[in-house]
Structures are given as structure tokens and as C-alpha cells.
């Protein structure tokens, strides 16, 4: 069953009771919440996602709930619970849904160590993946969203999951997290795409979530070979330019952006080295999305190669 097949009352009822088992890529997240705002946004943004049969296996058990205490009558807050633990400080109740999104990212980046997990946007065209590793504020999510609206398949706007065995990327197509000016920029390019209402005054400023394309959600089981690793930097007023980067330098940058590179030790070194081997590496500086997209559309993938570990 898909989330969109549940009526608002059914979805709200299940969230408030046993929870829903939401499949996102290779993970099942059991989500519970009594809050209307969580049910409404799940219905809006996750309509195409599979809702597994209740009481099966779930990788992560989370709840988005109001804390107890008198404060809730004056300044209502919300907690993210993971296995009935509270890993974060509460946030204002109006930020319940972004908190759920950030919490789910945290669950994966802190626990799914069967993958090398990169902080990266990942999109696919013609059977090969473009990896956009970058720290926050680089324009990675904006470019990822713009590429998806333009027709590239979304694997993730935030987490690149690299398979340790074959180096392929596992999809995790979830709503795309847009911040501040990017919200209007992407809305303008995608007038028919569904967005959440903006959530104001979060730690990242104003954020809004873009519903992932149905095709990306339906193809969440299709892993992809990486072809390009591109460091993105948004530079106001700059003409778009794509320059080759040495693979050693790119290796270090991607390792810096990975959540669990150190934890995986020599395995992480091997997995990342094989990925860099297989990819062409570039720096992309841009200010106008159309120029950047045209450059990325024109890229030819490298032919598959073997690793050069020593």
C-alpha cells in the first residue's frame, strides 16, 4: 500500500497509534506521531511511498511527539524520539516536520554503516550517477533539486550511500530540503511540483521540502554506478565553469564530507578509492542554474575501470 492510498483520517489514526512503516530506499522507518502537521506533510510529500504491512521489521523506530510539562501551554515544542531515546533538544512545534526529516537523516548517517555514507546530493542520468559532495551552504541541494526538476533521477539530496561490494550508489529518494532563496528559485522552475509550506526560523533559516518525483520513488530499488564526482560552489555573478580536479584532492574532499569514513577504517579507504577510480572529478562554480545544468547535461561518462589500489 502507498501512503497516498490512506485517507487523512486513516493516516492520522495509524500515526497516533501503532505508527506507519514507511519504506524509503533500503530502509523501513516506523514513524509515530500524534501531530496533525506530521500527518499532513507525510500525506503531501510521501504519497508515492510504500507503507509496509504493520508489525514487520523496521530499521528505525522514531516518534515526533510533544514533550510533557507545562511549557506546552505557552511555547509548544516537539521532540524527536529514536528507540524511545531523545537524541536532540526540542524544537518549536512548528518545526515538527523538518525535525522528522533531519532526524531520519541522522538515523541513517549514524547507523547504516553497511554503506560508506557521503554528505552529498546524488542524481542519475542514462544509467550513471553524478555525486555532488559538499558542505552545507555550497548550493548542492539547489543544484540537485534543479537537476531533478530538469529530468535527472533523484537518488538523494543529502546522503550518498555507497555499496562496499560493488561501489554502486543506493537510492534514498526522499523530499528535497530547500533553504531560503532556493525555495523560490526552484518553485519558479517547477510550478507543477508539490512543496510543503515554508518552515520559518529554523536553525537553517526558512526551509521547505519538495516532493520527490514519482518515478524517482518508484525506482528506489535501482542502484547506479557512479560516473562523476563534482564539487559544487555557488558564486554570485560567476559564469559557470567546470574544471578537472585531481583524483587525490577529490578523494580527500569526499572523505571529509563522509559521515562514516573514519569509522569504516581501511574498508572506507578502499571503497572511496574505488569510487574515485571509476569517476571523472570536477569543480563546478556557478551562479546561473541553466548554465550549470547545460554543462552537466553535456558530460560523457568515463568507461568503467578497475581500482588502482597499491
Amino acid at each position: 500500500m502507498r501512503v497516498g492510498e490512506l485517507s487523512p483520517a486513516q493516516l492520522q489514526g495509524r500515526l497516533a497509534a501503532e505508527g506507519i512503516d514507511l519504506r524509503t530506499g533500503g530502509f523501513v522507518c516506523r514513524i509515530r506521531s500524534p501531530l496533525d502537521v506530521v500527518a499532513e506533510n507525510l500525506s503531501l510529500l510521501y504519497a508515492d511511498f510504500v507503507c509496509e504491512e504493520p508489525r514487520g521489521f523496521a530499521d528505525f523506530h522514531v516518534a515526533i511527539t510533544p514533550p510533557r510539562g507545562l511549557r506546552r501551554w505557552w511555547r509548544p515544542q516537539v521532540l524527536f524520539r529514536f528507540d524511545d531515546r531523545v537524541p536532540f533538544k526540542p524544537l518549536p512545534a512548528g518545526q515538527a516536520f523538518p525535525m522528522m526529516e533531519w532526524g531520519l537523516n541522522w538515523c541513517i548517517s549514524n547507523h547504516a554503516h553497511r554503506y560508506l555514507i557521503l554528505h552529498a546530493g546524488v542524481v542519475e542520468r542514462a544509467g550513471v550517477a553524478l555525486v555532488l559532495p559538499a558542505p552545507p551552504g555550497s548550493g548542492k541541494s539547489t543544484l540537485t533539486a534543479a537537476l531533478v526538476v530538469h529530468g535527472w533521477r533523484l537518488l538523494s539530496d543529502e546522503l550518498g550511500l555507497v555499496d562496499p561490494v560493488d561501489g554502486r550508489l543506493h537510492p534514498l529518494a526522499r523530499p528535497v530540503n530547500l533553504k531560503n532563496n532556493s525555495i523560490g528559485v526552484i518553485r519558479e522552475r517547477a510550478p507543477d511540483t508539490v512543496f510543503s509550506a515554508p518552515f520559518h526560523d529554523t536553525s537553517k533559516g526558512t526551509v521547505a521540502l519538495m516532493r520527490p518525483p514519482s518515478d524517482s520513488v518508484k525506482r528506489s530499488g535501482e542502484v547506479v554506478r557512479p560516473a562523476w564526482v563534482i564539487s559544487v560552489r555557488y558564486e554570485p555573478g560567476a559564469a559557470a565553469r567546470l574544471s578537472p580536479v585531481g583524483k587525490g584532492k577529490m578523494f580527500m574532499r569526499v572523505a571529509d564530507c563522509a559521515f562514516n569514513y573514519s569509522l569504516l577504517g581501511p574498508d572506507g579507504f578502499g571503497i572511496l578509492g574505488a569510487m574515485i577510480d571509476a569517476c571523472d572529478c570536477y569543480d563546478l562554480h556557478y551562479s546561473r542554474l541553466d548554465e550549470a545544468i547545460a554543462m552537466l547535461d553535456a558530460l560523457e561518462p568515463p568507461s568503467p575501470t578497475g581500482p588502482t589500489a597499491g
Partner: protein, 96 residues
């Protein structure tokens, strides 16, 4: 600058490599650190790994040949490289 004694690759831990042209990354299995090295540092480290132990003079000769440097300049350059590699715990003075 390091001038005296002999040198060896840091004992007891493996080093893992990936190489692309003149750029090399090395993973130190003891510290868990990864370092980006240029061709000169990599050449010195690989030479030392193969030779097991080498003096500054031993090491500066191939450096001079590879980089086309006069002997005294190569000696200083090699000393600085060794200092840097020692700081990264990749090489250490040979105790014997």
C-alpha cells in the same frame, strides 16, 4: 632539518595506497589517518619501504636524480620531507 642517522617506515602498521598520476593518498592503518602526498613524498616513502632502512644520503640520491637537484639542495629537501613524514607518523628514526 634531519641530517643524521637512518630512517624507516613507521614500524608495526600497514600503509594502504591509491595513486592517480602525481597524486597519491596513503592510509595509515595504525592512526586511521589519510594523507594526500605528492610524487616526491610518495617516492621517498616507497623507497624507504622497499629498502627497510636508509640514511639521509641514501634517500637524497634518488631525490636528486628524480627532481634534477644538486646534491646539497636534495639533501635539504629530503630532510624537510622526512620531517614532514615523521610529523604524520609515516616514518621514524631507525633506533639501531
Amino acid at each position: 632539518m634531519k641530517r643524521s642517522g637512518s630512517w624507516r617506515v613507521n614500524a608495526g602498521f600497514d600503509l594502504l595506497w591509491h595513486s592517480w598520476g602525481d597524486e597519491h593518498v596513503v592510509y595509515h592503518c595504525g592512526s586511521g589517518d589519510t594523507h594526500l602526498l605528492d610524487a616526491a613524498a610518495t617516492g621517498l616513502l616507497r623507497y624507504l619501504r622497499e629498502a627497510r632502512v636508509a640514511t639521509m644520503d641514501d634517500l637524497s640520491l634518488p631525490v636528486a636524480a628524480a627532481l634534477g637537484m644538486p646534491a646539497d639542495e636534495a639533501l635539504e629537501y629530503t630532510g624537510n620531507l622526512l620531517e614532514e613524514l615523521e610529523r604524520l607518523s609515516l616514518v621514524e628514526p631507525n633506533p639501531r
